[in-house]
Symmetry: C2
Subunit: 215 residues, 2 copies
DNA sequence: ATTATCTATAGATCTATAGATAATGC
DNA sequence: ATTATCTATAGATCTATAGATAATGC
């Protein structure tokens, strides 16, 4: 029996369905491990249709993620809050960073994956991140130095502080499948866990730099 | 011109060369992105030879990594040092963990990659890690509780503490290509950086849990 | 007439195997 | 005679394109 060309409801726009499904699969397995055949199967259309709309797999990927990578990274920078209190500045950076990640929980994995898998794309992403990191660091550096001179914060570079925040915020997402398995978390339980974890991250980052009597 | 079957020095054992090259490429790009064709090319032999020695790509991978995964993970557990001083226990865990990672800098990436890429292998790895984490946590739990009750350490779960250590130790390696690019590090400079970073990790982890007057 | 969808297929891989040939150990 | 290496090739993908056909908008 020949496949009839399905007439679809206006609501089920096939082009959009392809984008949705592709995003899911790319985030799940990375670019290289995703085949257009699989996307088509999940959408319920023919594989050729993906090329009709997006010409190449590469373009489909770029359409979905070029923007996301940039906004994901620059959001981290923009989140800095002017506050008299350095502690509040640190807290707000951690919290908005954590918030952004939780909205794109699989993006860190994908960035790392593309980084090692696709040297060309890596250069592009890395350059953008380089600028972003540069401006974030210089943005916080002077404030940090003041705190250190005032003896309220131990001697630490802005980069190390920045890495502490990134590490603690990102690792749980990168290791998510493992953590979920080890702790028997459902997806909802994992989300709940990351919410609680955010306060933990702040306590660790801040406790790790603020100066008290005994080390 | 027909390729002559190269007569090799005893020293250049081809089977061993295949193992060496395969390890490099697997660590660099992950299982799926590595082709036996590429391994053969770098070794300088025919692709069929890889199958002669290892039968399948899967078996070659397992020969290289099954052991590594287990030893990498269990080394983390075994590193716990009995000490009267809880602070020293934490320090020794961090340092030996960090030491093991620095000996296998690309392994964390590979584990994460296989985790998401290969569901079957994931189950195997995850089960082993689950046991390992379980025994590590229960090993440190009673000591931690004592410290908390004595008011020397803030209220924190063993799992959160464990995650703090893992996050801070592992993230720099997982993000290594990115960090190297952002900071213009050569490989040697990156290694030097991780050495310095180890003290930073201890200060953060310990500062993040020890109790002082002001929060 | 234009746009959306399908069928069929070319051309590139890639893994694995069969079978030929050269090298080595006795 | 056995072991190591090569050539050639089958069979599975996978991406991308050409060309047929159905649906839609006018």
């Amino acid at each position: 029996m020949a496949n009839k060309k399905v007439r679809r409801e206006k609501s089920e726009n096939v082009e959009q369905m392809i984008l949705n499904v592709a995003e899911d699969i790319f985030l799940e397995k990375g670019y290289a491990m995703t085949s257009t055949t699989e996307i088509a199967k999940r959408v319920g259309c023919n594989q050729a249709l993906i090329h009709y709309y997006f010409r190449t797999k590469e373009r489909l990927f770029e359409k979905l993620f070029e923007k996301k990578f940039v906004s994901f990274i620059s959001a981290v920078v923009l989140s800095k809050e002017r506050s008299a209190n350095f502690k509040d500045v640190v807290r707000s950076i951690i919290e908005s960073h954590s918030e952004i990640i939780s909205q794109n929980p699989r993006l860190p994995f994908l960035i790392i994956n593309e980084m090692t898998t696709n040297p060309v794309r890596f250069r592009v992403i890395a350059e953008k991140i380089k600028d972003t990191v540069g401006s974030l660091l210089s943005g916080i550096d002077s404030e940090l130095k003041k705190e250190i001179e005032a003896g309220r914060v131990r001697d630490i570079s802005a980069f190390d502080l920045f890495l502490n925040i990134l590490s603690l915020n990102l690792f749980v997402y990168i290791a998510q499948p493992l953590i979920s398995h080890v702790r028997d978390y459902s997806f909802e339980e994992f989300v709940k866990f990351t919410k609680l974890r955010s306060e933990e991250v702040f306590l660790t980052v801040w406790g790790g730099i603020c100066i008290n009597e005994n080390i």
